[in-house]
Subunit: 207 residues, 2 copies
DNA sequence: TAAATTACCATACAGATGTATGGTAATTTT
DNA sequence: AAAATTACCATACATCTGTATGGTAATTTA
């Protein structure tokens, strides 16, 4: 990705991604125009040209719905960059993955979801292994027993969630790891989101 | 899915699926006509109507590329349809179950790949569990030790592949299952493809 | 044997679709 | 201060696209 998108261009790109992942079809110019209240397809046309010029999409000329996303098929691999972790929003945790922002890459998943790569074997018994990619939805409220991603001070963890009377417990499936009890001990504790899926590429392991 | 598709209808449906999973776009009537050598879109039109009538697709009226695959359920559940399994192409095996997993877009499906749902625990030790969705690329030559999907007579299996001097061995990771040795014993044996990824939705298990 | 289905063809048409061109106004860069 | 960029508008147009209608021939079903 070469240049920065403007705010509007970003929104349009997001809309395209949303449509493509949601409906399975990229929108037509008219679809986009309608969604943003443009009276005119030419406006969209020009925005698309700008977005294409900046390298985020490719247009299949003269082809209905011929918008291609030029996302490299790499994954968004977050690396815990300490010091910023506590700040909050998980998307800002990993600034070096963000500035590629791959706003596109992120948004290609279920809306608002993002990815974390699991390190360590604490979830072995939940069938999640080191190297797996977990897909996280930050907008779902975790229920007891579900697996969540959370931030503790400066590290991101993926563990099973249990809410008790006065505390929250984060439990590893692997008995080698003691449960983490959240009360006042952790200055910056935040549930990042619910783990909704796991993906593993076979190139890396088990091959 | 209600009725049987004719041979041609099946081919057209396959083409649609191929286009959709490969290019990301369903074809237009013209695309289909061109591919099959029809001089006329109306021919395609009538085939599509038949396919829709039989319940395999849904048409978004007056919408460019408005062919929807009727997502049967959520997952692509391979049913060993005898008689057709041995025939070859996995896409013809399960015409009614195709394109159904709501695979997060990270798990990008490479062209020509397809999905199988794993049943049984024979790959437990390779971190693949019953219920997991494996992504299979039929165009990659499996190397020793890689995990493949194969068809044996009438059942599809997912196991580790080892080519020996005069035979092929399909090995389960789980010691409870003995290796399958392929020599002449199996009338219809076919390597379907290489397992390139695994996906698991968290709704079902481990929640 | 009659009726239905399948598999094509041709023509016609409205509206969708991408694109080209030219214009205005505001903001940002140089 | 001039030039470029951004963000819209309008009009025009060729082609794409889905659809409707009517026809022929072969095959399958009733």
């Amino acid at each position: 990705m070469s240049k920065e998108l403007t705010e509007i261009q970003k929104e349009i790109l997001e809309f395209i991604i949303e449509q493509k992942t949601g409906k399975g079809l990229p929108p037509t110019l008219a679809d986009i125009a309608k969604h943003f209240g443009y009276k005119n397809r030419a406006t969209v046309q020009q925005h698309l040209q700008a977005i294409e010029r900046k390298g985020y999409i490719k247009k299949n000329p003269n082809l209905a719905r011929g918008i291609e996303l030029t996302l490299d098929d790499k994954f968004f691999i977050p690396r815990p960059v300490l010091g910023e972790v506590a700040a909050g929003n998980p998307l800002t945790i990993y600034p070096d993955a963000i500035d590629t922002v791959e706003l596109p890459t992120i948004a290609r998943m279920p809306k608002d979801s993002f990815l974390l790569r699991v390190k360590g074997d604490s979830l072995k018994d939940a069938y999640i292994f080191s190297g797996d990619i977990v897909i996280i939805n930050p907008n779902l409220e975790p229920k007891n027993g579900q697996i969540v991603a959370a931030i503790l001070d400066d590290a991101a963890v993926v563990k099973r969630f249990y809410k008790k009377k006065n505390e929250i417990e984060l439990v590893s499936e692997n008995p080698d790891f003691a449960p983490i009890v959240i009360d006042k001990k952790y200055a910056s504790f935040k549930i990042v989101g619910l783990v909704i899926g796991v993906y593993r590429s076979m190139d890396k392991k088990a091959v």
